[in-house]
């Protein structure tokens, strides 16, 4: 399970040349493991869509190597590449279904491309539509479906060639939160049942926390940070990671320079402790919540809170040591440069 199915080494992608050259990706190194759901997150323009297209070579990397399932993708001939793409399929933000074909025919499409006999393709397509919960929509046209249903058809289509990797390019960004949750649940389910490795590209941290086990944070064309989702979530080390994990911004700069503050990180305790209340009761110290961004992942508390400490150094020290004594909580005093 832990073997790499995708290895990206020193990948760069530059658009244009000379003075007008845009360095979309610089020295990207990633290992995506067989059977995992890997997230690539970044703000618009971070290069994530380019990166995912470098995996199936819809974009040809300027330099570097992309190995998928033991094959060096950049070294394949055009014909070999077309064959390899059956193993690395893709779904898109705008679904990209063939609008003049029924759902069933859409799912048949990739099988048609590789010459699967029509009857066999139809049968398999119907099965796939059942799997994504749209068995009754076989003869409907995409225009008759909701966004979530269209994405389900696209997922069925992407599975038609029994791929080893499914690339999801902002697959839920055009969907409402409820539909997003159901599509993510479907992807997670397919990942577990079929063992297909899923690579999720998104700008939404909520998508990553929902289904990914590991994540890479892409910022300005470089990987700022990568690792287990829990790790990055509870303790983002880079600015890019902090910006994504706490988009509301628990930014020290927003608060008065005189205030001493502490950043408290919840690292997955079973529940939120009423930390502020117990501080007041047990130590008699009052603190201000300057900002907070906490989340619940699998019933565990993650996130940070920024607390303003009392002016009195003794009280501040007392509060700090109390917070540090709590389980599953780490505290770090924050320097202000306001």
């Amino acid at each position: 399970m832990s073997e790499s199915i995708i290895q990206i080494r020193h990948l760069t992608k530059t658009f244009g040349d000379g003075d007008g050259a845009v360095h979309a990706l610089e020295d990207i190194n990633l290992d995506i493991r067989q059977g995992e759901i890997f997230g690539i997150i970044g703000l618009s323009g971070a290069g994530k869509s380019t990166l995912v297209r470098c995996i199936n070579l819809l974009e040809r990397p300027t330099s570097g190597s992309v190995v998928v399932d033991g094959r060096e993708m950049t070294g394949l001939s055009e014909k070999e590449l077309r064959l390899a793409r059956r193993d690395v399929t893709m779904i898109f933000q705008s679904f990209n279904l063939l609008m003049q074909r029924t759902c069933l025919k859409n799912v048949c499409f990739p099988m048609e491309l590789c010459g699967v006999p029509a009857a066999q393709a139809k049968k398999r397509a119907q099965e796939l539509l059942e799997i994504v919960g749209l068995g009754d929509k076989a003869n409907a046209y995409p225009s008759q479906l909701s966004g979530g249903q269209k994405q389900r058809v696209a997922i069925a289509r992407a599975l038609a060639t029994d791929p080893k990797v499914l690339l999801c390019d902002e697959a839920t960004s055009a969907l409402d939160p409820t539909t997003t949750a159901s599509i993510l649940a479907l992807l997670k389910d397919l990942n577990q049942k079929l063992g297909v490795t899923v690579v999720v590209i998104t700008h939404q941290m909520s998508v990553i926390e929902e289904i990914c086990s590991r994540v890479a944070i892409l910022d300005g064309g470089v990987v700022a940070e990568q690792g287990a989702v829990e790790e990055i979530f509870s303790n983002p080390k880079t600015d890019a990671a902090r910006r994504l994990v706490y988009p509301g911004g628990v930014s020290a700069a927003q608060y008065p320079a005189s205030t001493r503050a502490v950043r408290v990180a919840f690292n997955g305790g079973t529940a939120y402790q009423p930390l502020i209340a117990s501080l007041a009761i047990d130590c008699g110290v009052k603190v201000n919540i300057l900002g907070a961004d906490t989340r619940n992942i699998d019933g565990k508390a993650f996130g940070t809170m920024l607390l303003g400490l009392p002016e009195d150094p003794n009280e501040a020290a007392k509060a700090l040591s109390y917070i540090r004594s709590q389980p599953n909580v780490t505290a770090e005093e924050v320097e202000y440069h306001g």
Binding site: R82, M90, L97, M99, Y141, L167
Partner: protein, 227 residues
């Protein structure tokens, strides 16, 4: 001009009108078929070779675009006269229905290439990318994505092309191509029979209306985006 409602008028000119309507239809249909046989692949080639096409090729795209533009800039009547020797080489005559078909095709093909290009460009680039991501070959993308996905638009473009060719046949009539345009000139203008002018004009209008209505209906009927 009330004579067009008399039996005598139709007894005299009925056969002539029928025959020339037929000639017009023959010229239009045959020219359209051949013009599409040339224009459709050229339109596909234009889209393929664009900067972000599936087979970008700056030079083919430029040269082809230039040739098409030249073809489209020549007024039909001039083109028809200019290529008469070529016409004779191909069909053995410079005049009549046969002689008209060659210049009609030569003139309509570049027009159709542009119409096809416009229709194909309406296909969402994302859908093309999706097909590429599934390992579709260039031929498969053209045959299974571009053409079927743009079918309603191609059909509408078809109506415009046919009506344009119909208008050209009337011009071709000026140099003895036969057909309704020829009739209008010979009888309506040269022999000063206003009723004949009126009837030929009405017939051409009716043809245009029928063609447009049928193709509009067909385009809507086959477009699965509208259901």
């Amino acid at each position: 001009m009330a004579e067009i409602f008399t039996a005598a008028f139709w007894a005299k000119y009925g056969d002539l009108l029928l025959e020339n309507t037929w000639d017009t239809l023959v010229m239009v249909v045959i020219s359209t078929v051949f013009a599409y046989l040339i224009g459709l692949p050229l339109g596909v080639l234009l889209v393929m070779t664009q900067e972000h096409g599936i087979r970008p090729n700056k030079w083919i795209n430029r040269i082809l675009g230039w040739i098409i533009n030249v073809g489209r800039s020549l007024p039909f009547i001039i083109l028809m006269i200019a290529i008469m020797d070529f016409t004779k080489l191909i069909v053995g005559t410079k005049i009549g229905v046969k002689g008209a078909i060659v210049p009609l095709v030569v003139s309509a093909a570049p027009f159709i290439a542009r119409m096809v290009e416009t229709s194909l460009m309406e296909v969402d680039a994302g859908v093309i990318e999706a097909a590429q991501s599934m390992g579709a070959s260039t031929f498969q993308i053209i045959w299974k994505v571009y053409l079927p996905e743009s079918r309603p638009s191609l059909v509408l473009g078809g109506a415009i092309s046919i009506v344009t060719i119909l208008a050209y046949t009337a011009i071709a009539g000026a140099v003895g191509a036969g057909g309704l345009g020829d009739l209008a000139i010979r009888y309506g203008y040269n022999r000063k029979i206003p009723s004949m002018m009126l009837v030929t004009v009405i017939l051409i209008i009716v043809l245009v209306q029928i063609i447009q209505s049928v193709f509009s209906w067909l385009s809507k009927h086959i477009d699965k985006r509208l259901k």
